[in-house]
Symmetry: C2
Subunit: 257 residues, 2 copies
């Protein structure tokens, strides 16, 4: 996976640092940059050369069906809004499925020199080149004292979940717009208490599942049900906080509407 992240980085980081980050809006309202597309083409090419029999699912191109049991799930630039505004809180995401199960994942935030990687057996952070094991300890932290991270109000609006945002943020100790993969990275690092997102694709979140399995992180949908790739997520280190958030969000879950 490190090789695959490196392939993406050779496209993304020079463009970011030189300010060539103009983004266009896709039909679904999300953003994409030319660099995003180029990076995914390069990642698919590398996979074609090294794992030609595997399937590939990616944000910027059609699914490619292989003949092995393995599927690579790619997002060359997660946090395109950050990338496009020359804000360093974006990253590259890779998950690897065996049959339908996500068994390994990795994330890299090249502009901050941060990352995380793991399998369902073990998980590590990467902080400026230093490895650190990820270990989640459920705490007694309650929502009124918690730091909640989420990408932005717009995604709640797109999901028809503005009321969910208001109900949740009104009760949270602190609500921060440290979102996309950076919010998830902060959660893995224990620097925020809970991440909530209202509108996800598998390539946004599936990389977290193996790391969560290995470390004790809790990753659920808005009903509080364990899920490898929820459309709406709650991620925390466990404890009463997770249930408290699920209680607030459950009435607003997409499959309730």
């Amino acid at each position: 996976m490190s090789d695959l992240l490196r392939v993406a980085r050779t496209h993304t980081l020079p463009s970011f640092l030189s300010g060539q980050t103009a983004a266009t809006t896709k039909p679904d309202g999300t953003l994409v940059t030319e660099v995003d597309r180029q990076a995914e083409v390069a990642m698919r090419k590398w996979l074609g050369e090294h794992f030609a029999q595997d399937s590939v699912v990616g944000e910027e191109g059609p699914a490619m069906h292989g003949i092995s049991n393995w599927t690579w799930v790619l997002d060359p630039i997660d946090g395109t809004a950050s990338f496009g505004h020359q804000v360093p809180l974006w990253g590259t995401l890779v998950a690897l499925r065996y049959d339908d199960n996500s068994v390994a994942g990795a994330c890299e935030l090249p502009a901050l020199d941060l990352g995380a990687k793991g399998t369902i057996q073990n998980a590590h952070l990467l902080i400026q080149g230093h490895e650190q094991e990820i270990l989640a300890h459920p705490s007694q932290c309650r929502l009124q004292d918690a730091t909640l991270a989420t990408t932005g109000w717009d995604y709640f609006r797109m999901a028809g979940a503005e009321e969910a945002y208001v109900n949740l943020a009104h009760k949270a100790g602190r609500t921060k717009g440290w979102g996309d993969c950076y919010g998830l990275w902060l959660l893995l690092a224990g620097r925020v208490d809970v991440v909530v997102e209202p509108l996800l694709h598998p390539w946004d979140i599936e990389w977290v599942w193996p790391l969560a399995q290995a470390s004790g992180i809790k990753l659920t949908d808005w009903h509080g049900r364990d899920c490898a790739a929820p459309r709406q997520c709650i991620v925390s280190h466990g404890g009463p906080l997770h249930d408290e958030v699920a209680d607030i969000l459950q009435p607003h879950a997409l499959d309730n509407l």
Copy 2:
């Protein structure tokens, strides 16, 4: 001012990089770290040695009344929540008043190697050591296409302005939690369209005024009135967007309540 920023940086950056960033909550609900206090003591000491006749106003200590016409306005760590969570979006702020008028200002985000400085005559960005003149051009951008930056929902809650947040964010193209001085820096750099904050102190915002005067940036209160240190700000590059935001926020302005 560069010397004063350097004095602060020798305290803040090593603590940030080594993770010694634990924060405590002040009586007003905002955060402070021990490093914050130490940095302000060092900044005041430096001013005492070099500008002993001037007055000093700072976030973490009592106002000191000098005998000259000059007043230094200090915030050693703006974005304490970021600092405390080891998120690099914090900075040091300095403004300089002559009589009651803010005439020079500077901002430095040491963990991102970004800054801005200026007087009422000229204003520059600093991007990884490179200087770039700040020039605002009013655009025809409307709110529905604009990127709005603000520190966080919590500050609207503290100001009793949750409804203002909802009304504004509901209509904005994109709402991002790139806040504190980083949001203002992004605005000066033309990377976001408008910054809105509901609860400011003079040391949070006054450094922007001279740079705004020099570059054509519009800095007003929620009524849309030009102001060097508004308690609630709208900052933009001018044009119809600014008025549109003021129309939404004016009914929620503190002095209307």
